[in-house]
């Protein structure tokens, strides 16, 4: 079987977000880059599917040239091929992103490469549009299940489970299908050194789609207002045990 995974390069934010002065971007001068945890799990799931059923896996990103780093990280984990849909760094909205991916998948099909499973994250870590997978599925007329946390493939079918507030939901879908993955579906492996070295040498297939206006335009970013707030330090002098237990009593937890 053949599996395609869509991953998006995003800044690895930590304790605090700082914006560029024009409010257009996250200030990434001191940040690394990564992908959403959901997408890390989608990559892992793709590698496991191929290990179990045989076939080939491909990773796809729409982003600046630097997103090659994220493609190589995926290849270091065992993904075979990588495709970069190269942009000039401008933000593409979900409609435009999905359209570019559909075009790429159709070009693949024309070249004789079809996919049984197309995987995405449930939502991207940065813009969190919650929709690229659904739009790709709709355009390709494929069944789609979002937010899956378990996947079993047998005889051209996928049985998937996802979590709800009160338990689980199950669906059985014929392949090919689009599945969007949530973190927790698996525990991603760490890349091995030989894996990294191999990935470094691999070729990246590139194309340059035309930017389009999908109809959702980012005007600016802003940080939410922080309510002023003080912290009380306990156990500075004296037994922290006693002071913490007093706090529990004050909060009526004991």
């Amino acid at each position: 079987m053949n599996v395609l995974v869509g991953i998006k390069r995003v800044p690895a934010t930590a304790g605090q977000i700082t914006l560029t002065p024009d409010g257009q971007e996250i200030d990434t001068r001191y940040l690394g880059f990564t992908v959403s945890p959901h997408e890390e799990c989608a990559v892992e799931e793709a590698v496991r599917l191929i290990e179990k059923h045989g076939g080939s896996s491909t990773v796809l990103t729409l982003g600046p040239e630097a997103a090659i780093d994220q493609l190589r990280e995926a290849m270091a984990l065992g993904i075979e091929r990588a495709m970069l849909l190269e942009t000039d760094g401008r933000e593409w909205d979900p409609v435009a992103t999905a359209a570019a991916m559909v075009e790429a998948i159709e070009a693949e099909r024309a070249a004789g490469r079809t996919y049984d499973v197309v995987m995405f994250g449930n939502e991207s870590a940065d813009s969190a549009g919650y929709q690229v997978g659904v739009r790709v599925a709709d355009a390709l007329d494929l069944p789609c299940v979002t937010g899956i946390k378990a996947l079993e493939v047998t005889n051209g079918h996928a049985t998937v489970r996802r979590q709800t507030e009160s338990g689980w939901e199950v669906a059985d879908v014929p392949l090919p299908a689009v599945l969007t993955v949530k973190e927790g579906i698996n525990l991603p492996r760490y890349p091995s050194l030989p894996g990294r070295l191999k990935a470094k040498k691999k070729e990246i297939e590139r194309s340059t789609p035309q930017w389009q206006d999908g109809g959702l335009e980012k005007i600016r970013l802003k940080l939410p207002v922080q309510v002023g707030h003080t912290v009380e330090i306990l156990g500075k002098d004296g037994d922290p045990g006693v002071q913490v237990v007093e706090l529990f009593q004050r909060l009526r937890l004991l």
């Binding site: 909205d93 937010g147 973190e183 109809g215 009593q249």
Partner: protein
């Protein structure tokens, strides 16, 4: 997917643009909601009439909504940003070939049509313009407080039969009932004891388990801990795991990354235990103990057991 917050927001927006507020009910829920809708200013309730819609089939539900939106010439369609709400609205957007703004907190209709929407789980906000014939959006939870309108409306209930074909039902999600484990769930616990990389090892969580037991709470963890394989993902508190709202969240050896804070910011109080006074969690906590998590928890657990055994308080004078 009846959300009073969505009704409140939709009512305000409808008033703003001078259009009636109409609601759609799909599936087995909804149809009996006319009473509630009346106090939120809804003029018409459209009930999708197709027995196949009784169970959740995202594409079919979405196509019913898209068809109705066209039928009534909707200018704006608002859904709730729940798992199902978000999924259905994404399909509506795909079917109608219009953009969708997910997780909005504010809506200013007009030209341009402006929304404020959440990124990074709400750690960052985006001002965006929606340019489309129909504006689709989902409302983030807790974006506003639900508020009934002062006067009640007469709700006309109207059945409509969407044109659905079998392909719209290719994906059906069937609920699976789980055995109750009897454990206090993270989402409901009054006290959550969360552990991060600073706990040091899987074994290090024993003291957190003990504290949670003593307080009748649950143990949670950060993503660093699940990635290390110390705890299962079901314990993870954050943007991608469980969001919690306890009376007290005790964050042990957790630095306070924004993604983690998204999961616990609904806690009434936060107590941080950390060796580093400059850790972001300390600035965001209400109480903090600066010290080694194992040492602090050993002292805390011993003191709780002493107090529970009826010993007099050791409060220094």
């Amino acid at each position: 997917m009846l959300s009073l917050e969505v009704l409140t927001m939709a009512g305000r927006v409808a008033l703003d643009i001078g259009r009636p507020l109409e609601a759609v009910a799909i599936g087995s829920q909804g149809a009996g909601a006319a009473g509630i809708l009346s106090s939120y200013g809804v003029s018409t309730l459209h009930v999708a009439d197709d027995p196949r819609l009784a169970e959740y089939a995202p594409v079919a539900w979405a196509h019913a909504i898209a068809e109705l939106a066209d039928q009534v010439n909707a200018e704006i369609v608002i859904g709730t940003a729940s798992d199902r709400g978000g999924e259905v609205m994404a399909h509506v957007g795909a079917r109608m070939q219009v953009p969708l703004a997910a997780n909005c907190t504010e809506i200013a209709p007009g030209d341009p049509f402006i929304v404020i929407r959440q990124r990074w789980g709400g750690s960052l906000l985006e001002e965006a313009h929606i340019k489309a014939r129909v504006k689709l959006l989902t409302l983030a939870p807790h974006a506003l407080t639900a508020e009934a309108s002062p006067s009640r409306t007469d709700v006309t209930t109207r059945a409509f039969t969407p044109a659905l074909d079998d392909r719209d039902f290719r994906v059906r999600l069937v609920p699976q009932v789980e055995a109750d484990t009897g454990k206090i769930s993270l989402a409901q616990a009054r006290v959550v004891v969360g552990g991060g990389r600073g706990v040091g090892s899987a074994e290090g969580f024993a003291s957190l388990e003990e504290l949670a037991d003593l307080l009748g709470g649950a143990v949670g963890c950060s993503r660093a801990v699940t990635s290390l394989g110390w705890r299962p993902h079901s314990d993870q508190v954050d943007q991608t795991g469980t969001r919690i709202a306890p009376d007290l969240y005790i964050a042990c050896g957790i630095s306070g990354a924004i993604q983690h804070m998204v999961g616990c910011r609904a806690a009434k109080h936060i107590l941080a235990i950390n060796t580093d006074p400059a850790a972001p969690i300390v600035a965001q906590a209400d109480y903090a103990v600066i010290g080694d998590v194992q040492k602090v928890l050993t002292a805390v657990n011993a003191e709780i057991k002493r107090v529970k055994a009826g010993a007099p308080s050791r409060t220094p004078a």
